[in-house]
Symmetry: C2
Subunit: 490 residues, 2 copies
C-alpha cells in the first residue's frame, strides 16, 4: 500500500485505505496463486519442520514497521521464514495425530467469511450468519444419520464451535446446571459437600479433564473408567456411579468416546447410556474424529449406536471432512439447557427479534460472545464437493488403512496393537518400545512422512492416521516401504 495509490477523499498521505478494491483484486490473486503453488509443491517439502526453537523469531524484525510494506515482501518472508517453520498438515504423507484436513472450497469459504467481515453474535447482527449455520448443521445431521432429536426443527439443534474441547465444556456446564437446577451457575459449585462427578473412559480425550478443571468441578472428580475390549466398561461405569450416588455425590456428566485419540476405540454407547439414564446424568458423545465416517451407511452402526439417548453429540468437520480448522459441530437434544447455562443478555444486546423469541442467538450457545461466519466454509465444502465425493474419500481411507494393516501383518517384525479403526492404524515393532520409538523418530526425520505416537495397551504405538486431502494410495504404500526399510532387523 504505497502512497502513490489513489487516496480516499478526506486523506493526507498517511491515510492508507483499509480496503482498496482494485488493489485487493491484484493482491488477492497473488495470495491465491501463492497458495496454489504451495499445494502444488507441498509434497516435495519435509512434512515436519526441523527448525530449532527460536529460529523463526530470530529471522524476523523485532519491531513492527512504521510505514507500509508491500505484499511481495510479506510473501517473500513467508517463503523464507514461515514455510521452513511449518509442519505441513496438508502434505499427502502427513499421517500424524488426526488430520486437520481442508480443501479448495473450504479455503474459499474462509475467504468469503473474512471478506464479508460480519459478526453473528445475535440473530439480529446478521440473520444469514445464524440461519445458514442452523441449516447446514441440519443438513449434516441428516447426512450422518444422527437422530432427529438433534434437529433444530424440534427442541434440539446444532452449533459450530472452534473445537471439541470448547463444545465439551459447554455441554459440561449445561449438564452441571441441569444437575443443580441452575444453582451452580448462580451460586457456584460446592464440591466439598455434595460433589458433582464426571465420567469418561481412561482413553477419553484430555479435554474432559481440562473442562472439569475449568468448570470448577475439579480434575479429581473426573472418574476414569477402565476399558474392556477396547471401549469403556459399562459395568465399571455402573459401579462407579452407583457408589458415588450411594455416598451422596452427584453423578452429572458422562462422556462416551466414539473413536479414541490413541487408537480409535469406540465405547459401547447404548450400555453407557442406560447407566447414565439411571442417574439422570447428561450423556455427551465425543465423536471428534470418527464421526465423519457416519456419512457412509456401512460405517454408521457402531458410530451412532446409542446416539438417540445422548444429550449432546459432537464431531469435527475440521478433522476428516475437509473443512478448515476451526469447525466443531455440536448438537444438543435440548437447546434450552445450553441457553439457560450460558445466556447473558445485557441491555445493549437486547433487540426485538431476541425478545420475541423464535430466533437463535448463538452467543448463548458458546463461551465467546462474538462469532465468525464459519457456516460458509461448511456450506461451500458440502455443495462444491457433494456428499457422494466426501463418502468416497472416507471409503478410500478406510480401505487403504486396511491394506496398510495387511502389509504389517505380513511382516513378522511388526504387530498391530489394535484392530485398525476406520482409517487409523496403531502398531509397534515386536522388539519393544525402545525400537518402536526409535523407528518413529527415524521415519519422521526423513521428512518423507509424519506419524505420531500413543500408548496403546500399555505399549508405545506408532499411529498412522489417513485423511489428508492430497493423500493417495501410493503415499500409504510409500510410508510402509519406508517403515519396512528403516526397521532393519529390529
Amino acid at each position: 500500500m504505497n502512497d502513490d495509490e489513489a487516496a480516499p477523499p478526506s486523506s493526507a498521505p498517511d491515510r492508507v485505505p483499509a480496503f482498496d478494491p482494485e488493489r485487493f483484486r491484484v493482491e488477492g490473486r497473488a495470495v491465491v496463486d501463492w497458495i496454489a503453488d504451495y499445494w502444488s509443491a507441498v509434497e516435495r517439502r519435509p512434512v515436519l519442520s526441523s527448525v530449532a526453537p527460536g529460529w523463526v523469531r530470530s529471522h524476523l524484525p523485532s519491531r513492527a514497521p512504521e510505514a507500509p510494506e508491500p505484499l511481495a515482501d510479506v510473501l517473500a518472508d513467508a517463503d523464507r521464514v514461515i514455510l521452513p517453520g511449518l509442519t505441513h498438515w496438508q502434505h499427502p504423507a502427513f499421517f500424524g495425530w488426526f488430520p486437520a484436513s481442508t480443501c479448495g472450497p473450504s479455503i474459499l469459504g474462509e475467504l468469503l467469511a473474512a471478506g464479508l467481515g460480519v459478526q453473528g453474535m445475535l440473530w439480529a447482527t446478521s440473520p444469514a450468519c445464524t440461519e445458514l449455520e442452523t441449516l447446514v448443521l441440519d443438513w449434516l445431521r441428516d447426512l450422518l444419520g444422527l437422530p432427529v432429536r438433534f434437529a433444530s426443527t424440534g427442541a434440539g439443534g446444532g452449533v459450530i464451535q472452534d473445537s471439541a474441547s470448547s463444545g465439551l465444556l459447554c455441554a459440561l456446564v449445561a449438564a452441571r446446571e441441569r444437575a443443580t437446577d441452575l444453582r451452580s451457575n448462580a451460586t457456584g459449585v460446592d464440591q466439598d459437600a455434595r460433589p458433582l462427578v464426571v465420567y469418561a473412559s481412561v482413553d477419553a480425550h484430555s479435554s474432559v479433564e481440562k473442562a472439569a478443571g475449568i468448570a470448577g468441578i475439579g480434575r479429581q472428580w473426573l472418574r476414569r473408567i477402565p476399558g474392556a475390549g477396547g471401549g469403556m466398561d459399562p459395568a465399571a461405569l455402573a459401579r462407579a456411579m452407583d457408589e458415588d450416588a450411594g455416598a451422596g455425590r452427584r453423578p452429572c456428566f458422562v462422556v462416551a468416546t466414539v473413536g479414541t485419540t490413541a487408537s480409535g476405540a469406540v465405547d459401547p454407547v447404548p450400555a453407557i447410556a442406560a447407566v447414565a439414564a439411571r442417574h439422570a446424568a447428561w450423556l455427551h458423545v465425543d465423536a471428534a474424529w470418527a464421526g465423519a465416517a457416519a456419512l457412509c451407511p456401512e460405517f454408521r452402526g457402531p458410530l451412532l449406536a446409542g446416539a438417540e439417548a445422548a444429550d449432546s453429540w459432537g464431531f469435527n468437520p475440521h478433522k476428516w471432512l475437509l473443512v478448515n480448522f476451526d469447525c466443531h459441530a455440536l448438537w444438543v437434544a435440548d437447546r434450552t439447557a445450553l441457553v439457560r447455562a450460558l445466556s447473558t443478555k445485557p441491555d445493549y444486546l437486547r433487540n426485538a427479534a431476541s425478545d420475541a423469541g423464535g430466533v437463535i442467538d448463538y452467543s448463548d450457545w458458546q463461551v465467546p460472545l462474538g462469532r465468525r461466519f464459519r457456516a460458509l466454509k461448511l456450506w461451500m465444502t458440502l455443495r462444491m464437493l457433494g456428499a457422494e465425493a466426501l463418502r468416497a474419500r472416507i471409503r478410500d481411507h478406510v480401505t487403504w488403512a486396511g491394506e496398510f494393516a495387511a502389509m504389517l501383518r505380513g511382516d513378522p517384525r511388526f504387530e498391530l496393537l489394535a484392530e485398525p479403526s476406520l482409517s487409523l492404524v496403531c502398531f509397534a515393532l515386536r522388539s519393544g518400545d525402545e525400537t518402536s520409538r526409535d523407528l518413529l523418530d527415524r521415519v519422521n526425520a526423513t521428512g518423507a512422512a509424519c506419524l505420531s505416537h500413543a500408548r496403546v495397551a500399555g505399549r508405545f504405538a506408532l499411529r498412522l492416521a489417513i485423511g489428508g486431502p492430497l493423500t493417495e494410495r501410493r503415499h500409504v504404500e510409500q510410508v510402509w516401504r519406508t517403515l519396512a526399510a528403516l526397521a532393519g532387523s529390529a
Copy 2:
C-alpha cells in the same frame, strides 16, 4: 468441480479432488473479485438486514446436495440469499455496538492461514505458527506502550484468543488457581464454605458474569461495584473486598474496564490496582475496544495507567485495529500461572521440544486444544498498513466523534449522556427515552446507517461508535443530518 476436470491418479468418476491447484486459481480469483465488488458497492446496501426470521433458511434447499455444484451457483446464492440477510459490519455507516473492523491485508491473512491449513496446538506441530504469534504480540505490546512485564522475553507473554470473553475466562481460571494453590483445578471449587469472589464495575462487560458462571464461581459471587464519575469507585471496591475478606471469603479476581461497552468509561486502574494488591487478587484489565487507541501516545495516559500492576491485559485488534474477527490479544505477566491452570499433556501430545521446556505450547494458554494460524492476519495488517497509518485512522475517528458531539451540543433537542470517549458518543433526545428509542428505530429503518443503544446514566442512549474501515468524515456528517431530520420537533 465437474467430472470433466482432470482426475487424480487413483480415482473413479466420484473422486473429486479436494484441492486442484488450477481450479483453485480460477475459483480463488472469482471469490476475490466477488469480495472486491462487495466492498465497492456495500455503501449502497441497507446497513441492517430487514429479513424476517426464517427468510434465509426458507430460500435454501433443505438437504445437502449429493453431487458437486459449481462455485458460480454458490456465489449466486450468496448474492440472492446471504447478502440480503446480512447486517453489513463493514458498511461505512455502520456505527453500532463496536466495530468489527477489517481490511484488505487482514482478509488476505485469513486466506493465507486457511490455505496453509496448519494447526498450532503445540510448538512442535508448526513452530512458525507459535513463534510468529509470540513475536507479533511483542510487537503490539511495544506499539501500545504496554509494560515490559507483558513481554514474552521475560516472564510474561501474549496469546491470540478468539474473543475477550474467552481471554477473560482463562484469566479468571488462572486467578482462581492462584488463590487456591491449584486446589480448585484439582479438587473443585467450594463456594459454600469459603467462597471466591470476583469484582467488576456495574458497567463491566457481560462476559465477566458469564465467566463466573462457567468457572463454577457463580454469578452471585460477582460483586458489581458502583461507579463514581464514570468509572468504578475504588472506595466502594475496597469496602466490598474488605468486607468479604473479613467474613472469611476470598477475593480473587478484579476486572478493571478500560472503555465500557455502554459508554466507553474508563475505570481508575491505579486506585483499583492498589485495592486488589492489598488482597493479592488477580487484576485483569479489559480494554477490549479502547485498547487500540493506546497506539497513539496522546491517548495512552488513561488507557495504560495502572497497567504495570495488572496480571493480565486484553484488547481486541478485531474491534478497532482492522484485524478480522477473531483476534483478541491477551497478555499475562506470569505465563506459568496460565499454563498451570490450563495445561494437559496426554501421552500422545508429548514431544521432545515441550519436554525440554523453552517453547510455548499455546494449547496450554486457552480453552481449546487446536488453533489456527491467526498471527498471520495480525502480522499482515501491521506490515502492509504500518503503524503510522493505523494511528492516523484512530486519530481521525476520535476527531470525527468530537465533531459529531459538537453538532449535538449545538442542537437543543439533543443531549450528550456522557462525554465522548475516544470515538464513541452516547446521546439522547431531551424529550425522553421513548422518543430516543423511536428515533433509533427510525434511523436504523432508513437503511442508511446503523446505531445501537445502551443504558447510560439510567437513560436510553443512542450509541454512535466510529471505527469502520470505509468510514469517512462525510458518513459521520451524514448520519448527523439524518438524525437531525428524523428528530423532528422532538
